[in-house]
């Protein structure tokens, strides 16, 4: 699957060079690449599970499916795709959660590593995970819109890393 994703990405890059970003972005979110999320091995393992962050609608005002077949609304499910090995920060976070028995000491220990209580999404982001909601393909394919470098949005750099299997 990693090879398939890389091959699609390379094809996409070639399109980008010939025809510009719009076509390249649509290729990036071809259905084959999106299916990477279902696969459970190698660099594309879904390790963080699915987090519900509420319903998202397209800020551009689209309704239903777009012309590429993507939904213009999100169920709020966010897929966190694994890139490489767990970082020390993530290991430490999990260790603290396993070892501490009460919420107050957990809060204190998490504070020591610079994480607020309940900050799992931040930990994942800092640990080289990327966040892809089910609205993301539509935003990119139809509107050429990524969302910048923040833990709750899709950072194009991390997206490329994930699809390239770096």
């Amino acid at each position: 699957m990693a090879k398939l994703a890389s091959s699609i990405l390379m094809k996409g890059e070639s399109t980008y060079k010939k025809r510009g970003f719009g076509d390249w972005l649509r290729n990036l979110f071809s259905k084959d690449v999106v299916r990477v999320g279902d696969f459970d091995s190698g660099n594309f393992k879904i390790d963080g599970g699915i987090v519900s962050l509420g319903i998202q609608s397209c800020p551009f005002g689209c309704k239903g499916k777009d012309k590429y077949g993507y939904n213009s609304f999100g169920s709020g499910q966010v897929y966190v795709e694994r890139i490489g090995e767990r970082s020390e920060l993530l290991e430490k976070y999990v260790e603290i959660q396993m070892e501490t028995e009460d919420m107050e000491s957990e809060k204190e220990r998490l504070k020591e590593i610079g994480i607020e209580y309940g900050g799992m999404i931040k930990v994942m982001y800092l640990s080289s995970f990327t966040v892809v909601s089910d609205l993301t393909p539509h935003l990119i394919a139809s509107h050429n819109f990524f969302q910048g470098d923040a833990s709750y949005r899709t950072d194009p750099k991390k997206l490329l890393e994930a699809f390239r299997g770096v």
Partner: protein, 67 residues
């Protein structure tokens, strides 16, 4: 390669930067702006973020990676 202005025109087509920024910000008032240091509470843009800067940064990232 497309210029950033061309890309921005495509991203904001039919809607405009100001209206898009309005829609991308959270609907509910943000009580404590410091909470935006890393996470969203319902919107795509933090109160101190500029939409054009976010899009520019993304495309500069992509251009660097694809050059």
């Amino acid at each position: 390669m497309e210029s950033f202005d061309d890309i921005l025109r495509k991203v904001t087509a039919g809607i405009g930067v100001e209206e898009l920024e309005r829609r991308l910000r959270p609907r509910n008032p943000v009580r404590d702006e410091s909470q935006w240091s890393d996470y969203s509470s319902g919107g795509f843009l933090a109160p101190d973020e500029n939409f054009v800067d976010v899009v520019r940064a993304d495309y500069e990232t992509l251009a660097r990676w694809l050059s």
